[in-house]
Protein backbone atom coordinates (compact mmCIF):
# COMPACT_ATOMS: atom_id res chain seq x y z
CA UNK A 1 0.00 0.00 0.00
CA UNK A 2 1.42 3.30 -1.08
CA UNK A 3 0.55 6.82 -0.14
CA UNK A 4 1.72 10.41 -0.66
CA UNK A 5 1.55 12.48 -3.81
CA UNK A 6 -1.15 11.64 -6.28
CA UNK A 7 1.29 11.18 -9.13
CA UNK A 8 2.73 7.72 -9.28
CA UNK A 9 6.20 6.88 -10.31
CA UNK A 10 6.19 5.54 -13.86
CA UNK A 11 9.77 5.80 -14.99
CA UNK A 12 10.56 2.15 -14.45
CA UNK A 13 8.81 -1.20 -14.23
CA UNK A 14 6.87 -1.54 -11.01
CA UNK A 15 8.71 -2.82 -7.99
CA UNK A 16 5.76 -4.82 -6.78
CA UNK A 17 5.20 -8.24 -8.31
CA UNK A 18 3.45 -7.69 -11.60
CA UNK A 19 3.00 -9.33 -14.92
CA UNK A 20 4.08 -7.37 -17.98
CA UNK A 21 1.03 -7.31 -20.21
CA UNK A 22 2.50 -5.43 -23.04
CA UNK A 23 5.94 -4.09 -23.91
CA UNK A 24 6.66 -0.63 -25.23
CA UNK A 25 7.03 -1.91 -28.74
CA UNK A 26 5.88 -4.97 -30.58
CA UNK A 27 8.49 -7.68 -31.08
CA UNK A 28 8.69 -6.97 -34.79
CA UNK A 29 9.72 -3.37 -34.25
CA UNK A 30 13.42 -2.70 -33.88
CA UNK A 31 13.12 0.54 -31.96
CA UNK A 32 10.53 2.88 -30.53
CA UNK A 33 12.04 5.95 -32.14
CA UNK A 34 10.67 7.52 -35.24
CA UNK A 35 10.15 10.97 -36.68
CA UNK A 36 6.44 10.90 -37.35
CA UNK A 37 4.42 13.78 -35.94
CA UNK A 38 2.78 13.93 -32.54
CA UNK A 39 -0.59 12.24 -32.69
CA UNK A 40 0.00 10.47 -35.97
CA UNK A 41 -2.14 7.38 -36.39
CA UNK A 42 0.27 5.48 -38.59
CA UNK A 43 2.54 4.03 -35.91
CA UNK A 44 -0.54 2.78 -34.08
CA UNK A 45 -1.71 0.92 -37.16
CA UNK A 46 1.75 -0.46 -37.76
CA UNK A 47 1.89 -1.79 -34.22
CA UNK A 48 -1.32 -3.69 -34.82
CA UNK A 49 -0.04 -5.03 -38.10
CA UNK A 50 3.19 -6.30 -36.59
CA UNK A 51 1.38 -7.87 -33.66
CA UNK A 52 -0.99 -9.63 -36.03
CA UNK A 53 1.92 -11.05 -38.01
CA UNK A 54 3.57 -12.23 -34.85
CA UNK A 55 0.41 -13.79 -33.47
CA UNK A 56 -0.11 -15.71 -36.69
CA UNK A 57 3.47 -16.98 -36.32
CA UNK A 58 4.42 -15.50 -39.63
CA UNK A 59 7.40 -13.41 -38.55
CA UNK A 60 9.73 -15.67 -40.49
CA UNK A 61 7.77 -15.62 -43.70
CA UNK A 62 6.41 -12.09 -43.95
CA UNK A 63 7.64 -9.71 -46.63
CA UNK A 64 6.37 -6.17 -46.65
CA UNK A 65 6.28 -3.99 -49.73
CA UNK A 66 6.20 -0.37 -48.68
CA UNK A 67 4.81 2.63 -50.50
CA UNK A 68 5.97 6.22 -50.20
CA UNK A 69 4.42 8.40 -47.56
CA UNK A 70 5.09 9.24 -43.95
CA UNK A 71 4.94 5.55 -42.97
CA UNK A 72 7.98 4.99 -45.18
CA UNK A 73 10.06 6.41 -42.35
CA UNK A 74 9.17 3.27 -40.40
CA UNK A 75 10.97 0.96 -42.81
CA UNK A 76 14.09 1.52 -40.76
CA UNK A 77 12.50 -0.16 -37.75
CA UNK A 78 10.05 -2.74 -39.08
CA UNK A 79 11.62 -6.11 -38.48
CA UNK A 80 10.17 -8.12 -41.33
CA UNK A 81 11.87 -8.45 -44.67
CA UNK A 82 10.96 -5.43 -46.74
CA UNK A 83 10.99 -4.21 -50.28
CA UNK A 84 10.72 -0.47 -50.76
CA UNK A 85 8.49 0.26 -53.73
CA UNK A 86 8.01 3.50 -55.58
CA UNK A 87 5.05 5.74 -54.87
CA UNK A 88 1.95 3.91 -56.04
CA UNK A 89 3.58 0.72 -57.23
CA UNK A 90 3.53 -1.56 -54.20
CA UNK A 91 0.75 -3.95 -55.29
CA UNK A 92 2.55 -4.83 -58.51
CA UNK A 93 5.82 -5.28 -56.69
CA UNK A 94 4.07 -7.46 -54.13
CA UNK A 95 2.62 -9.49 -56.99
CA UNK A 96 6.08 -10.31 -58.30
CA UNK A 97 7.30 -11.11 -54.81
CA UNK A 98 4.38 -13.36 -53.96
CA UNK A 99 4.57 -15.27 -57.21
CA UNK A 100 8.19 -16.11 -56.48
CA UNK A 101 7.54 -16.76 -52.79
CA UNK A 102 4.21 -18.55 -52.73
CA UNK A 103 4.67 -19.47 -49.09
CA UNK A 104 5.51 -15.96 -48.01
CA UNK A 105 3.04 -13.69 -46.27
CA UNK A 106 3.30 -10.75 -48.61
CA UNK A 107 1.73 -7.49 -47.59
CA UNK A 108 1.80 -3.92 -48.81
CA UNK A 109 1.70 -0.84 -46.65
CA UNK A 110 0.52 2.25 -48.47
CA UNK A 111 -1.12 5.58 -47.84
CA UNK A 112 -4.14 6.98 -49.59
CA UNK A 113 -1.96 9.28 -51.68
CA UNK A 114 0.13 6.33 -52.67
CA UNK A 115 -2.70 3.91 -53.28
CA UNK A 116 -5.80 5.89 -54.22
CA UNK A 117 -4.02 8.61 -56.18
CA UNK A 118 -0.79 7.57 -57.78
CA UNK A 119 -1.33 3.83 -57.69
CA UNK A 120 -5.10 3.39 -57.99
CA UNK A 121 -4.75 1.26 -61.07
CA UNK A 122 -2.24 -1.10 -59.54
CA UNK A 123 -4.32 -1.99 -56.53
CA UNK A 124 -7.45 -2.49 -58.61
CA UNK A 125 -5.72 -4.68 -61.15
CA UNK A 126 -4.05 -6.72 -58.44
CA UNK A 127 -7.40 -7.17 -56.75
CA UNK A 128 -9.16 -8.08 -59.98
CA UNK A 129 -6.43 -10.60 -60.70
CA UNK A 130 -7.25 -12.13 -57.33
CA UNK A 131 -3.60 -11.86 -56.41
CA UNK A 132 -3.03 -13.71 -53.16
CA UNK A 133 -1.55 -10.79 -51.25
CA UNK A 134 -2.72 -8.47 -48.49
CA UNK A 135 -2.82 -4.76 -49.18
CA UNK A 136 -2.98 -2.42 -46.23
CA UNK A 137 -4.04 1.15 -46.70
CA UNK A 138 -3.32 3.83 -44.10
CA UNK A 139 -5.98 6.30 -45.06
CA UNK A 140 -5.72 9.79 -43.61
CA UNK A 141 -7.22 11.59 -46.58
CA UNK A 142 -4.11 13.65 -47.26
CA UNK A 143 -0.64 13.52 -48.65
CA UNK A 144 0.85 13.77 -45.20
CA UNK A 145 4.45 13.62 -46.26
CA UNK A 146 4.37 16.41 -48.81
CA UNK A 147 2.49 18.85 -46.63
CA UNK A 148 -1.12 17.83 -46.45
CA UNK A 149 -2.77 18.33 -49.83
CA UNK A 150 -6.06 16.73 -50.75
CA UNK A 151 -6.02 13.18 -52.09
CA UNK A 152 -8.63 11.22 -54.02
CA UNK A 153 -9.73 9.92 -50.65
CA UNK A 154 -10.24 13.26 -48.89
CA UNK A 155 -13.87 13.52 -47.84
CA UNK A 156 -16.07 16.47 -48.66
CA UNK A 157 -15.64 19.09 -45.97
CA UNK A 158 -12.24 17.83 -44.87
CA UNK A 159 -9.53 20.43 -44.29
CA UNK A 160 -6.31 19.96 -46.24
CA UNK A 161 -3.59 22.28 -47.36
CA UNK A 162 -5.35 23.16 -50.59
CA UNK A 163 -8.87 22.91 -49.19
CA UNK A 164 -8.24 24.77 -46.01
CA UNK A 165 -11.93 25.48 -45.55
CA UNK A 166 -12.89 21.93 -46.38
CA UNK A 167 -13.04 19.98 -49.62
CA UNK A 168 -15.74 21.30 -51.89
CA UNK A 169 -17.52 18.73 -54.05
CA UNK A 170 -18.22 21.18 -56.86
CA UNK A 171 -14.63 22.20 -57.23
CA UNK A 172 -12.81 19.02 -56.36
CA UNK A 173 -15.26 16.21 -56.98
CA UNK A 174 -16.07 13.40 -54.62
CA UNK A 175 -13.76 11.01 -52.84
CA UNK A 176 -13.20 7.47 -54.03
CA UNK A 177 -14.33 4.89 -51.51
CA UNK A 178 -11.66 2.39 -52.26
CA UNK A 179 -12.86 -0.42 -50.04
CA UNK A 180 -16.30 -0.33 -51.61
CA UNK A 181 -14.72 -0.30 -55.05
CA UNK A 182 -12.49 -3.26 -54.33
CA UNK A 183 -15.18 -5.24 -52.56
CA UNK A 184 -17.17 -5.15 -55.77
CA UNK A 185 -14.48 -7.04 -57.67
CA UNK A 186 -14.84 -10.78 -57.78
CA UNK A 187 -11.10 -11.21 -57.30
CA UNK A 188 -11.19 -9.92 -53.73
CA UNK A 189 -11.70 -12.38 -50.89
CA UNK A 190 -11.57 -10.10 -47.88
CA UNK A 191 -12.17 -6.36 -47.63
CA UNK A 192 -12.59 -4.41 -44.43
CA UNK A 193 -12.28 -0.89 -43.12
CA UNK A 194 -11.31 0.03 -39.59
CA UNK A 195 -9.74 2.96 -37.79
CA UNK A 196 -7.37 3.69 -34.92
CA UNK A 197 -9.29 6.53 -33.29
CA UNK A 198 -9.82 4.75 -30.02
CA UNK A 199 -8.45 1.79 -28.16
CA UNK A 200 -11.19 -0.68 -28.95
CA UNK A 201 -11.14 0.17 -32.64
CA UNK A 202 -7.40 -0.25 -32.52
CA UNK A 203 -7.77 -3.73 -31.09
CA UNK A 204 -10.44 -4.42 -33.66
CA UNK A 205 -7.99 -3.31 -36.32
CA UNK A 206 -5.67 -6.08 -35.29
CA UNK A 207 -8.47 -8.60 -35.50
CA UNK A 208 -9.22 -7.47 -39.02
CA UNK A 209 -5.59 -7.58 -40.01
CA UNK A 210 -5.39 -11.14 -38.72
CA UNK A 211 -8.37 -12.12 -40.80
CA UNK A 212 -6.88 -10.54 -43.88
CA UNK A 213 -3.56 -12.29 -43.39
CA UNK A 214 -5.36 -15.54 -42.72
CA UNK A 215 -7.20 -15.12 -46.00
CA UNK A 216 -3.86 -15.00 -47.74
CA UNK A 217 -2.49 -17.93 -45.77
CA UNK A 218 -5.54 -19.92 -46.80
CA UNK A 219 -4.84 -19.06 -50.43
CA UNK A 220 -8.22 -17.46 -50.93
CA UNK A 221 -7.11 -14.46 -52.95
CA UNK A 222 -6.77 -10.75 -52.52
CA UNK A 223 -7.29 -9.35 -49.03
CA UNK A 224 -7.54 -5.69 -48.23
CA UNK A 225 -7.55 -3.69 -45.02
CA UNK A 226 -8.18 0.02 -44.99
CA UNK A 227 -7.17 1.64 -41.72
CA UNK A 228 -8.27 5.19 -41.07
CA UNK A 229 -5.44 7.03 -39.33
CA UNK A 230 -5.04 10.46 -37.80
CA UNK A 231 -3.00 13.15 -39.49
CA UNK A 232 -3.49 16.24 -37.36
CA UNK A 233 -0.64 17.95 -39.21
CA UNK A 234 -2.17 17.52 -42.62
CA UNK A 235 -5.67 18.35 -41.41
CA UNK A 236 -4.64 21.51 -39.64
CA UNK A 237 -6.46 20.45 -36.50
CA UNK A 238 -5.10 20.52 -32.95
CA UNK A 239 -3.29 17.28 -32.24
CA UNK A 240 -5.54 15.98 -29.48
CA UNK A 241 -8.58 16.46 -31.70
CA UNK A 242 -7.21 14.05 -34.27
CA UNK A 243 -9.12 10.94 -33.20
CA UNK A 244 -12.46 12.76 -33.06
CA UNK A 245 -11.91 14.42 -36.38
CA UNK A 246 -11.01 11.06 -37.88
CA UNK A 247 -14.05 9.31 -36.49
CA UNK A 248 -16.51 12.02 -37.37
CA UNK A 249 -15.21 13.59 -40.55
CA UNK A 250 -13.42 10.81 -42.39
CA UNK A 251 -15.25 7.96 -40.69
CA UNK A 252 -18.68 9.23 -41.61
CA UNK A 253 -17.90 8.78 -45.30
CA UNK A 254 -15.40 5.95 -45.24
CA UNK A 255 -17.68 3.78 -43.13
CA UNK A 256 -16.17 1.12 -40.94
CA UNK A 257 -17.01 -2.51 -41.37
CA UNK A 258 -16.23 -5.77 -43.07
CA UNK A 259 -17.30 -5.25 -46.65
CA UNK A 260 -16.49 -8.71 -47.84
CA UNK A 261 -15.46 -11.93 -46.18
CA UNK A 262 -15.30 -15.07 -48.25
Amino acid sequence: MSSGSDILQTDAPPSQPAEKLCAFKPDLLLSEDHHLCPGCGEPIAVRMMLEAIKELECSRRAVGVIGIGCYTALTGIIDTDLVQALHGRAPSVATGTKRMLPNGLVYTLQGDGDMVNEGLQEVIHSAARGENITCILLNNGVFGETGGHMTASTVVGQRTKNTIDGRDAKEHGQPILISEMLAQLSGTAYVARCGVFNASQTVHTKRILRKAFQTQLDGKGFSFVEILTMCPTGWFVPVPEGPDYLENVLGSVHKLGELKCE
Binding site: V63, D81, L82, A85, T97, L101
Partner: protein, 359 residues
Amino acid sequence: MTRVLMEGSEAMAKAAIAAGCRFFSGYPMTPFTETLEYFGKHLPDVGGVSINAESELEAIGMAWGALATGARAATGSTGQGLALMQESLSEITRAELPLVYFNMARGQGDYYQATRGGGHGDYRNIVLAPIDVNEAVELTQLAFYLADLWRNPVQIYGDYLLAHTNETVEISTMEFPPLPPKDWAVDGSLGGTGKSRNINPIGMSKLKHEIEPEAFWRRLHVKHKEIEQAEARYEEEFLEGAEMLVVAFGTVARFVRYVVREMRSEGIAVGYIRPITLWPFPYEAISNAAQNTQKVAVLEQNGGQMIDDVRLAVLGSAPVVALGGFSSDEAGFGIGPIHGTDNIRDRIEHGLAGQEVMP
Protein backbone atom coordinates in the same frame (compact mmCIF):
# COMPACT_ATOMS: atom_id res chain seq x y z
CA MET B 1 22.06 -30.17 -78.95
CA THR B 2 21.65 -29.27 -82.58
CA ARG B 3 20.95 -25.95 -84.15
CA VAL B 4 17.34 -25.05 -84.68
CA LEU B 5 15.69 -22.36 -86.74
CA MET B 6 13.96 -19.84 -84.50
CA GLU B 7 12.58 -16.35 -84.66
CA GLY B 8 14.68 -13.79 -82.79
CA SER B 9 11.99 -12.97 -80.21
CA GLU B 10 11.57 -16.58 -79.33
CA ALA B 11 15.24 -17.38 -79.38
CA MET B 12 15.96 -14.59 -76.92
CA ALA B 13 13.15 -15.65 -74.63
CA LYS B 14 14.32 -19.22 -74.83
CA ALA B 15 17.88 -18.15 -74.09
CA ALA B 16 16.63 -16.20 -71.10
CA ILE B 17 14.90 -19.28 -69.77
CA ALA B 18 18.04 -21.31 -70.40
CA ALA B 19 19.92 -18.69 -68.41
CA GLY B 20 17.61 -19.29 -65.48
CA CYS B 21 15.08 -16.52 -65.95
CA ARG B 22 12.05 -17.60 -63.98
CA PHE B 23 9.85 -14.54 -64.02
CA PHE B 24 8.66 -12.35 -66.83
CA SER B 25 6.08 -9.62 -67.03
CA GLY B 26 5.23 -7.44 -69.97
CA TYR B 27 2.54 -5.60 -71.85
CA PRO B 28 2.01 -6.11 -75.57
CA MET B 29 3.53 -3.69 -78.03
CA THR B 30 4.93 -4.30 -81.48
CA PRO B 31 7.59 -5.62 -81.99
CA PHE B 32 8.01 -6.83 -78.43
CA THR B 33 4.80 -8.83 -78.27
CA GLU B 34 6.24 -12.12 -79.51
CA THR B 35 8.87 -12.13 -76.79
CA LEU B 36 6.12 -11.76 -74.22
CA GLU B 37 4.17 -14.54 -75.89
CA TYR B 38 7.06 -16.94 -75.80
CA PHE B 39 7.63 -16.40 -72.10
CA GLY B 40 3.92 -16.84 -71.50
CA LYS B 41 3.93 -20.16 -73.31
CA HIS B 42 7.16 -21.59 -71.98
CA LEU B 43 8.01 -20.23 -68.55
CA PRO B 44 5.35 -22.36 -66.87
CA ASP B 45 7.06 -25.46 -68.32
CA VAL B 46 10.07 -24.82 -66.11
CA GLY B 47 8.07 -23.78 -63.07
CA GLY B 48 8.47 -20.10 -63.85
CA VAL B 49 5.87 -17.37 -63.92
CA SER B 50 4.97 -15.09 -66.79
CA ILE B 51 2.38 -12.38 -66.36
CA ASN B 52 0.69 -10.32 -69.00
CA ALA B 53 0.73 -7.21 -66.85
CA GLU B 54 -2.00 -4.63 -67.25
CA SER B 55 0.45 -1.89 -68.24
CA GLU B 56 4.15 -1.25 -68.54
CA LEU B 57 4.27 0.34 -65.10
CA GLU B 58 2.76 -2.74 -63.61
CA ALA B 59 5.06 -4.98 -65.63
CA ILE B 60 8.20 -3.43 -64.26
CA GLY B 61 6.77 -3.32 -60.76
CA MET B 62 6.13 -7.03 -60.88
CA ALA B 63 9.62 -7.73 -62.17
CA TRP B 64 10.98 -5.61 -59.33
CA GLY B 65 9.10 -7.69 -56.79
CA ALA B 66 10.32 -10.92 -58.32
CA LEU B 67 13.93 -9.70 -58.44
CA ALA B 68 13.76 -8.80 -54.78
CA THR B 69 13.32 -12.49 -53.98
CA GLY B 70 16.55 -13.29 -55.78
CA ALA B 71 14.88 -14.76 -58.83
CA ARG B 72 16.22 -14.03 -62.27
CA ALA B 73 13.50 -11.87 -63.71
CA ALA B 74 12.98 -9.76 -66.81
CA THR B 75 10.62 -7.40 -68.50
CA GLY B 76 10.62 -5.39 -71.69
CA SER B 77 8.75 -3.36 -74.25
CA THR B 78 9.62 -1.04 -77.08
CA GLY B 79 11.33 2.24 -76.30
CA GLN B 80 7.93 3.85 -75.96
CA GLY B 81 6.82 1.45 -73.28
CA LEU B 82 10.23 1.74 -71.63
CA ALA B 83 9.70 5.49 -71.47
CA LEU B 84 6.95 4.75 -68.98
CA MET B 85 9.33 2.65 -66.92
CA GLN B 86 12.02 5.29 -66.50
CA GLU B 87 11.30 6.11 -62.87
CA SER B 88 11.45 2.44 -62.02
CA LEU B 89 14.55 1.78 -64.09
CA SER B 90 16.38 4.56 -62.37
CA GLU B 91 15.34 3.41 -58.91
CA ILE B 92 15.86 -0.29 -59.59
CA THR B 93 19.41 0.63 -60.52
CA ARG B 94 19.79 2.30 -57.15
CA ALA B 95 18.18 -0.64 -55.41
CA GLU B 96 20.92 -2.65 -57.16
CA LEU B 97 18.55 -5.27 -58.46
CA PRO B 98 19.72 -7.38 -61.39
CA LEU B 99 16.95 -6.64 -63.84
CA VAL B 100 17.26 -7.72 -67.45
CA TYR B 101 14.99 -5.91 -69.87
CA PHE B 102 14.37 -6.04 -73.57
CA ASN B 103 13.95 -3.05 -75.78
CA MET B 104 12.51 -4.43 -78.97
CA ALA B 105 12.83 -0.98 -80.41
CA ARG B 106 11.31 0.69 -83.39
CA GLY B 107 14.60 1.69 -84.95
CA GLN B 108 17.62 3.16 -83.20
CA GLY B 109 16.09 6.37 -81.90
CA ASP B 110 16.21 5.10 -78.34
CA TYR B 111 20.00 5.26 -78.10
CA TYR B 112 19.93 8.21 -75.72
CA GLN B 113 17.22 6.61 -73.65
CA ALA B 114 19.19 3.39 -73.43
CA THR B 115 22.58 4.90 -72.68
CA ARG B 116 21.75 8.06 -70.73
CA GLY B 117 18.41 7.01 -69.34
CA GLY B 118 15.39 9.13 -68.84
CA GLY B 119 15.15 8.48 -65.20
CA HIS B 120 16.24 10.97 -62.61
CA GLY B 121 19.61 11.22 -61.04
CA ASP B 122 22.86 9.50 -61.88
CA TYR B 123 22.53 5.92 -62.94
CA ARG B 124 23.65 3.72 -65.77
CA ASN B 125 22.35 0.51 -67.24
CA ILE B 126 24.45 -1.90 -69.22
CA VAL B 127 23.15 -2.02 -72.79
CA LEU B 128 23.84 -4.98 -75.06
CA ALA B 129 23.00 -4.54 -78.73
CA PRO B 130 23.12 -7.81 -80.62
CA ILE B 131 23.76 -7.80 -84.33
CA ASP B 132 21.83 -10.98 -85.06
CA VAL B 133 19.85 -13.76 -83.48
CA ASN B 134 22.89 -15.86 -82.71
CA GLU B 135 24.57 -13.05 -80.86
CA ALA B 136 21.28 -12.18 -79.21
CA VAL B 137 21.10 -15.67 -77.75
CA GLU B 138 24.55 -15.27 -76.27
CA LEU B 139 24.08 -11.72 -75.08
CA THR B 140 20.78 -12.59 -73.44
CA GLN B 141 22.53 -15.16 -71.33
CA LEU B 142 25.40 -12.80 -70.70
CA ALA B 143 22.87 -10.17 -69.64
CA PHE B 144 21.64 -12.27 -66.75
CA TYR B 145 25.18 -12.97 -65.69
CA LEU B 146 26.26 -9.35 -65.85
CA ALA B 147 23.12 -8.21 -64.07
CA ASP B 148 23.88 -10.55 -61.19
CA LEU B 149 27.58 -9.87 -61.23
CA TRP B 150 27.18 -6.12 -60.98
CA ARG B 151 23.73 -6.04 -59.38
CA ASN B 152 22.77 -3.62 -62.09
CA PRO B 153 20.07 -3.64 -64.76
CA VAL B 154 21.03 -4.75 -68.23
CA GLN B 155 19.13 -3.79 -71.34
CA ILE B 156 19.07 -5.84 -74.50
CA TYR B 157 18.52 -3.43 -77.34
CA GLY B 158 16.98 -5.19 -80.32
CA ASP B 159 14.56 -4.12 -82.99
CA TYR B 160 11.86 -5.31 -85.32
CA LEU B 161 14.24 -7.22 -87.57
CA LEU B 162 16.03 -8.89 -84.72
CA ALA B 163 12.68 -9.86 -83.25
CA HIS B 164 11.27 -11.30 -86.43
CA THR B 165 14.17 -12.79 -88.31
CA ASN B 166 14.51 -16.54 -88.02
CA GLU B 167 17.98 -17.98 -87.75
CA THR B 168 19.57 -21.28 -86.96
CA VAL B 169 20.73 -21.10 -83.39
CA GLU B 170 21.80 -23.39 -80.65
CA ILE B 171 20.35 -22.56 -77.29
CA SER B 172 21.91 -24.27 -74.35
CA THR B 173 22.79 -22.91 -70.96
CA MET B 174 26.09 -21.07 -71.12
CA GLU B 175 28.74 -21.34 -68.45
CA PHE B 176 29.81 -18.29 -66.51
CA PRO B 177 32.09 -17.86 -63.53
CA PRO B 178 30.38 -18.44 -60.19
CA LEU B 179 28.47 -15.59 -58.62
CA PRO B 180 28.20 -14.60 -54.99
CA PRO B 181 25.09 -15.87 -53.19
CA LYS B 182 22.12 -13.51 -53.17
CA ASP B 183 22.06 -13.13 -49.44
CA TRP B 184 20.39 -9.77 -49.84
CA ALA B 185 17.25 -11.31 -51.31
CA VAL B 186 14.06 -11.26 -49.28
CA ASP B 187 12.33 -14.48 -48.36
CA GLY B 188 10.92 -13.45 -45.03
CA SER B 189 13.24 -15.74 -43.15
CA LEU B 190 15.06 -13.07 -41.17
CA GLY B 191 11.95 -11.41 -39.78
CA GLY B 192 12.09 -10.86 -36.06
CA THR B 193 15.81 -11.57 -35.86
CA GLY B 194 16.81 -7.93 -35.91
CA LYS B 195 18.54 -8.62 -39.23
CA SER B 196 15.61 -8.57 -41.56
CA ARG B 197 16.34 -7.23 -45.01
CA ASN B 198 15.38 -4.00 -46.65
CA ILE B 199 15.68 -3.76 -50.40
CA ASN B 200 15.72 -0.06 -50.86
CA PRO B 201 16.60 2.29 -53.70
CA ILE B 202 18.17 4.77 -51.36
CA GLY B 203 20.57 2.30 -49.89
CA MET B 204 18.87 2.38 -46.53
CA SER B 205 19.17 -0.50 -44.16
CA LYS B 206 17.27 -1.19 -40.98
CA LEU B 207 17.76 1.14 -38.03
CA LYS B 208 20.01 3.25 -40.20
CA HIS B 209 18.21 6.52 -39.88
CA GLU B 210 21.22 8.47 -40.87
CA ILE B 211 21.42 7.59 -44.49
CA GLU B 212 24.58 8.81 -46.11
CA PRO B 213 23.30 9.63 -49.53
CA GLU B 214 26.56 11.04 -50.77
CA ALA B 215 28.44 7.93 -49.83
CA PHE B 216 25.71 5.92 -51.47
CA TRP B 217 25.85 7.88 -54.71
CA ARG B 218 29.59 7.63 -54.73
CA ARG B 219 29.57 3.92 -54.23
CA LEU B 220 27.21 3.51 -57.15
CA HIS B 221 29.34 5.82 -59.22
CA VAL B 222 32.45 3.84 -58.50
CA LYS B 223 30.64 0.68 -59.45
CA HIS B 224 29.60 2.26 -62.72
CA LYS B 225 33.15 3.34 -63.38
CA GLU B 226 34.27 -0.23 -62.77
CA ILE B 227 31.70 -1.48 -65.21
CA GLU B 228 33.00 1.02 -67.74
CA GLN B 229 36.46 -0.42 -67.30
CA ALA B 230 35.44 -4.04 -67.36
CA GLU B 231 32.58 -4.54 -69.70
CA ALA B 232 33.03 -2.55 -72.89
CA ARG B 233 32.65 -4.95 -75.83
CA TYR B 234 32.97 -4.37 -79.51
CA GLU B 235 33.61 -6.06 -82.82
CA GLU B 236 35.95 -4.76 -85.50
CA GLU B 237 36.96 -5.70 -89.00
CA PHE B 238 39.41 -4.31 -91.52
CA LEU B 239 40.78 -1.56 -89.30
CA GLU B 240 44.17 -2.13 -90.84
CA GLY B 241 44.81 0.52 -93.43
CA ALA B 242 41.24 1.77 -93.42
CA GLU B 243 40.85 5.19 -94.91
CA MET B 244 37.49 5.53 -93.23
CA LEU B 245 36.04 3.70 -90.27
CA VAL B 246 32.30 3.07 -90.11
CA VAL B 247 30.75 2.80 -86.67
CA ALA B 248 27.33 1.18 -86.41
CA PHE B 249 25.45 -0.98 -83.95
CA GLY B 250 22.71 -3.58 -83.84
CA THR B 251 20.82 -4.64 -86.91
CA VAL B 252 22.07 -1.70 -88.94
CA ALA B 253 25.62 -2.87 -88.27
CA ARG B 254 24.74 -6.16 -89.86
CA PHE B 255 24.10 -4.36 -93.12
CA VAL B 256 27.19 -2.21 -92.66
CA ARG B 257 29.44 -5.17 -91.94
CA TYR B 258 28.16 -6.93 -95.04
CA VAL B 259 28.81 -3.90 -97.22
CA VAL B 260 32.23 -3.24 -95.72
CA ARG B 261 33.22 -6.83 -96.40
CA GLU B 262 32.00 -6.44 -99.94
CA MET B 263 33.84 -3.16 -100.44
CA ARG B 264 37.01 -4.51 -98.91
CA SER B 265 36.83 -7.46 -101.28
CA GLU B 266 36.79 -4.86 -103.99
CA GLY B 267 39.84 -3.23 -102.48
CA ILE B 268 38.15 -0.18 -101.02
CA ALA B 269 39.91 0.84 -97.82
CA VAL B 270 37.03 1.02 -95.40
CA GLY B 271 36.91 -0.46 -91.91
CA TYR B 272 34.16 -1.34 -89.49
CA ILE B 273 33.77 -1.16 -85.77
CA ARG B 274 30.69 -2.03 -83.78
CA PRO B 275 29.94 -1.32 -80.15
CA ILE B 276 28.35 -4.46 -78.74
CA THR B 277 27.85 -2.69 -75.44
CA LEU B 278 26.30 0.72 -75.98
CA TRP B 279 27.02 1.37 -72.35
CA PRO B 280 29.74 1.02 -71.42
CA PHE B 281 30.68 2.45 -74.79
CA PRO B 282 33.96 1.13 -76.21
CA TYR B 283 35.61 4.57 -76.14
CA GLU B 284 39.10 3.23 -75.98
CA ALA B 285 38.77 0.88 -78.91
CA ILE B 286 37.28 3.57 -81.09
CA SER B 287 39.75 6.14 -79.91
CA ASN B 288 42.62 3.82 -80.83
CA ALA B 289 41.11 2.91 -84.14
CA ALA B 290 40.62 6.58 -84.96
CA GLN B 291 44.35 7.20 -84.64
CA ASN B 292 45.01 5.24 -87.79
CA THR B 293 42.32 6.44 -90.11
CA GLN B 294 41.43 9.58 -91.98
CA LYS B 295 37.88 9.82 -90.85
CA VAL B 296 35.29 8.12 -88.76
CA ALA B 297 31.76 7.71 -90.06
CA VAL B 298 28.72 6.96 -87.94
CA LEU B 299 25.79 5.16 -89.44
CA GLU B 300 22.83 4.94 -87.13
CA GLN B 301 19.11 4.79 -87.76
CA ASN B 302 18.16 8.01 -86.01
CA GLY B 303 18.87 11.72 -86.09
CA GLY B 304 22.35 11.34 -84.64
CA GLN B 305 22.71 10.05 -81.11
CA MET B 306 25.55 7.53 -80.89
CA ILE B 307 27.62 10.07 -82.78
CA ASP B 308 28.00 11.91 -79.46
CA ASP B 309 29.78 8.91 -78.03
CA VAL B 310 31.87 8.44 -81.13
CA ARG B 311 32.94 12.08 -80.96
CA LEU B 312 33.71 11.64 -77.27
CA ALA B 313 35.91 8.69 -78.21
CA VAL B 314 37.63 10.34 -81.14
CA LEU B 315 37.91 13.74 -79.41
CA GLY B 316 38.92 15.60 -82.51
CA SER B 317 41.71 13.29 -83.58
CA ALA B 318 39.87 12.62 -86.84
CA PRO B 319 36.78 14.15 -88.42
CA VAL B 320 33.56 12.40 -87.48
CA VAL B 321 30.89 12.36 -90.16
CA ALA B 322 27.28 11.33 -89.90
CA LEU B 323 25.96 9.01 -92.59
CA GLY B 324 22.37 9.24 -91.38
CA GLY B 325 19.71 8.57 -90.73
CA PHE B 326 16.04 8.28 -90.30
CA SER B 327 14.50 5.29 -91.94
CA SER B 328 10.91 4.46 -91.29
CA ASP B 329 7.88 2.60 -92.46
CA GLU B 330 4.31 3.69 -92.41
CA ALA B 331 3.49 1.50 -89.45
CA GLY B 332 6.23 3.17 -87.44
CA PHE B 333 8.00 -0.09 -86.70
CA GLY B 334 11.35 1.22 -87.79
CA ILE B 335 11.91 -0.72 -90.98
CA GLY B 336 13.12 1.43 -93.81
CA PRO B 337 15.46 1.97 -96.69
CA ILE B 338 18.48 1.83 -94.39
CA HIS B 339 17.80 -1.87 -94.16
CA GLY B 340 19.20 -2.47 -97.60
CA THR B 341 22.80 -3.04 -98.54
CA ASP B 342 22.46 -0.77 -101.57
CA ASN B 343 21.32 2.10 -99.43
CA ILE B 344 24.09 1.45 -96.93
CA ARG B 345 26.70 1.24 -99.63
CA ASP B 346 25.53 4.49 -101.04
CA ARG B 347 25.86 6.17 -97.67
CA ILE B 348 29.33 4.77 -97.12
CA GLU B 349 30.42 5.94 -100.54
CA HIS B 350 29.17 9.39 -99.69
CA GLY B 351 31.26 9.24 -96.57
CA LEU B 352 34.34 8.22 -98.49
CA ALA B 353 33.72 11.14 -100.80
CA GLY B 354 33.74 13.37 -97.75
CA GLN B 355 30.03 14.08 -97.77
CA GLU B 356 27.77 13.89 -94.75
CA VAL B 357 24.42 12.23 -95.30
CA MET B 358 21.64 14.23 -93.73
CA PRO B 359 19.53 12.16 -91.39
